[in-house]
């Protein structure tokens, strides 16, 4: 029997597989297919202080081995979540991690204080990297100063595990990672989507209502993997890797490059069972290679 457990700071997770925020709703939809308690964690939909309608339709465009989205953080706000959703999902038997988003540092603080009160939410993922909102969002994530400011403010009020989600749309992601580590982040997750664009050549219009949107899926995997490797070599806190993971082999590549845990995003759209299949595949890989615990994979890449 192999040991699949891994730890993100004090957070124990039963296996290294999480769903990515914005790609698995509030886990309820996945429950139509299988019991999410088999997953390490579910990253809940990006939540803001107030209701957000998000961007106009069309919000998505298919690209080569990937897709662009311009959802723009549509959600009903934290109070609605606490009253109407949290009670339904809190006993799903997996770690629930809320993805929190603000347009100002104050919003992040106010939001975090509310999440502090939720007993069954043991970690938050601070999204400072959403490319699909005009105010805040990625603006914080693309400079060390911005990333530091949000992380510090939230760290001061948030007592449980603080994961900061990094934007890949930067010159030096290791720099940003070091900055948020210095401000007390317990972990970093990367990557969020890459800012991209799609054009309808026949109609001569952009394919997204917002012209540009966030690229995800296997297309971005090589860049995401490189960033995880760079960040793993730059910080001491655990790294959560994601970006184009479609199967266990991809997940293992991220772990070898330095990830302690991984998230499955867009692959869920192709097959909602993907996260579950990845758990199984990691287990089989460990058995086949006579490795006793998943945590041994982290950074186990051999080079030079």
């Amino acid at each position: 029997m192999v040991d699949l457990k891994v730890k993100i700071d004090n957070l124990e997770i039963k296996n290294p597989v999480m769903t990515a925020s914005g790609t698995s709703g509030f886990a309820e939809e996945l429950m139509d297919f299988y019991d999410v308690s088999k997953l390490g964690a579910v990253l809940l939909k990006g939540t803001t202080l107030k209701n957000r309608d998000g961007n106009p339709y069309p919000r998505m465009a298919e690209t080569a081995s990937g897709m662009l989205n311009a959802v723009g953080l549509q959600n009903k706000g934290i109070d609605y979540f606490i009253e109407n959703i949290y009670p339904k999902i809190k006993d799903y038997g997996t770690q629930l991690i809320l993805n929190v988003n603000g347009s100002t540092v104050e919003e992040y603080i106010e939001l975090t204080e509310k999440v502090n009160e939720l007993e069954n939410i043991n970690a938050i993922e601070l999204n400072i990297s959403c490319p699909n909102v005009k105010e805040g969002g990625m603006a914080f994530g693309v400079s060390c100063v911005g990333a530091e400011a949000v992380t510090k403010a939230v760290r001061d009020v948030y007592k449980k595990t603080l994961i900061v989600k990094l934007s890949p749309n930067v010159t030096d992601i290791a720099d940003i990672a070091r900055s948020v580590e210095a401000q007390g982040a317990d972990s970093v997750s990367l990557v969020n989507t890459f800012l991209g664009m799609a054009v309808d050549a026949e109609k001569r219009v952009p394919r997204l209502s917002t012209i540009t949107g966030g690229l995800s899926g296997p297309a971005i995997k090589p860049i995401a993997l490189r960033m995880v490797w760079q960040v793993y070599n730059a910080v001491k806190i655990p790294v959560i890797g994601l970006g184009g993971i479609m199967n266990a082999e991809d997940a293992i590549e991220f772990m070898l490059a330095g990830a302690t845990a991984i998230q499955v995003g867009t692959a869920i759209f192709k097959d909602p069972f993907t996260p579950l299949k990845v758990v199984k595949g990691i287990e089989e890989y460990l058995e086949k290679h006579h490795i006793s615990s998943a945590s041994e994979l982290t950074g186990a890449l051999k080079w030079q």
Binding site: P58, M60, A64, K270
Partner: protein
Amino acid sequence: MGKKAVQDFIVIENRALNSSNFYIKVKSEFKLPDLKPGQFVNIDIKDSSEVFLRRPFSIFEVNTSENTIAIIVKVLGRGSKKLTEVKVGDVCNIVFPLGKGFTIPQSDERILLIGGGSGVAPMLFLSKVCGLPPENLNLLLGARTGEDHVNVDEYKKYGNLYFTTEDGSLGEKGFVTQHSIFTSNLKAFDKIYACGPDAMMKAVAKEAKAANVFCEVSLENLMACGIGVCLCCIEPTIHGNKCVCSDGPVFNINELKW
């Protein structure tokens, strides 16, 4: 749990209905759940270097004793093209059942079903299973030319069939909203259902609203997940943005911001 499934089906039939529409029937080795008109399936397009996501198609026929589902596929782009190249015996991976169906009419109601393009599929399914006396059911199908109409002779037994074509080659000339059954007295119907191109559904909805007749339309917004997790397929409604895939694809026109 287990309300929805991802399953391999086997293709047991694939034939051209006309130059651009194909009839594809797939069989499961498992018992099918209850499937309602208006619901859809999300199909993995295998072996394509160009298609990444699944493609959604309305359920057209269901045979619960044979465990088969049939769909009508109109060739539009890369995915639909590739899908119509499947051969009998091929495996077809499907996520289902998705979405909510139409409101089933009561047995004494008079209804009008309007289908355009591949939108005929859910209309035909609904006319077959709604259990109305044929005289109460009116099926109006629109297309560009007679050739674009798929053969629906079989559906004569479920109701009255009417056609429009833009070139007048079959049925009345013009759009569905110009057909005499539509223009004469819309209030004569208790319920109107429509599926087809956006422009057609909007035209239908406008008249139905004016006549104050119950009307449901089935939308075909672009989808990424089909299961309500990505929020890409949204349609603005009076209750805010709703997901076409999970809150729809069927909407009452009074809910829409058309």
